[in-house]
Symmetry: C2
Subunit: 184 residues, 2 copies
């Protein structure tokens, strides 16, 4: 089974992403935290049962967060493309948090500077792409190049449903077909 955990600043759209995926339409009204979703194997991209776990600071504690990070197989780290603070918090708060909760060993691999951050694979998700005329990969490239545990990145929109299926496919794939570790 694959456990996907969504993290990121308040209001980036974590709950909306999950509910958009499940109902195939954008929920105008969402609770702070979606219930855990279980998707059976035969309807998932990689044919593996998948659990999608939401996180919301308004309903959960730091201990809840630590527990969910320990149980997760992959983290979708979500920022909103129209909210620069939510992107800054990726490197200021969320990546350091994952490194402290799930530190990597040397076997897990190192980034180009020989620094290890976290052992759990991460998908970097820029939500609300509907609010931008064009994509903004440039804003995340420095992060992608520095953190070896970020498997890939994607810009998506819970509102238009663009790239939602891709996002969850990339998350599953990060668990089942991980990038080979580099030793540079």
């Amino acid at each position: 089974d694959v456990r996907i955990l969504l993290l990121g600043e308040r209001g980036v759209g974590k709950t909306s992403l999950i509910l958009s995926l499940v109902s195939e339409e954008f929920p105008d009204v969402v609770p702070p935290r979606a219930e855990e979703i279980t998707i059976p194997a035969d309807v998932t991209p990689e044919q593996v049962p998948t659990h999608i776990v939401d996180f919301s600071e308004s309903e959960q504690t730091e201990q809840d967060l630590a527990r969910e990070v320990q149980r997760a197989d992959v983290v979708c780290l979500v920022y909103a493309v129209d909210d620069n603070h939510s992107l800054q918090q990726i490197t200021e708060r969320w990546l350091p948090l994952l490194q402290s909760l799930r530190p990597a060993s040397k076997e897990d691999g190192e980034n180009q500077n020989g620094e290890i951050v976290s052992a759990i694979p991460i998908i970097l998700v820029g939500n609300k792409s509907d609010l931008l005329e064009q994509g903004n990969m440039e804003s995340v490239l420095p992060i992608m190049n520095h953190y070896a545990e970020i498997e890939t990145c994607v810009e998506c929109s819970a509102r238009t449903l663009r790239n939602i299926s891709e996002m969850f496919y990339y998350a599953q794939k990060a668990v089942l077909h991980p990038t080979a570790p580099l030793y540079i």
Copy 2:
């Protein structure tokens, strides 16, 4: 250096994708084949000089095709999301072609059935996403699950520039940070 080769049926948008990336706007009129593009290291996602090579049946021969496949580090296999024939040709024509020109050895890895197709990493690209209301990942999932050499998939639009940067980033990444081979 990374050499990216674009292949796929006529009219899927190979030339448009390349010219959209380079000029950051959609070219209303395109030649059959774009000249080879060289992007210096410092402006590429992965800081590696990158060459982007177009292929066009109207100007090139089977021998040209074979030569370009031998020289390439990664292939972007392009179909158009509004053209089901172009998607069928991915498995009917292009994947078998790559397997015959660049057959994999056992060390390169096997798919879930223990079958090896090709040794060169492939990005599956669904262009013209602007013509669909919603994404259509479901149409490619069977292909993704069967061919181990397809690193990832992406839906993009040369017209709206959506996911163009991501497509080229995924292609570079497939060369520089490949998925670990599976032995099942």
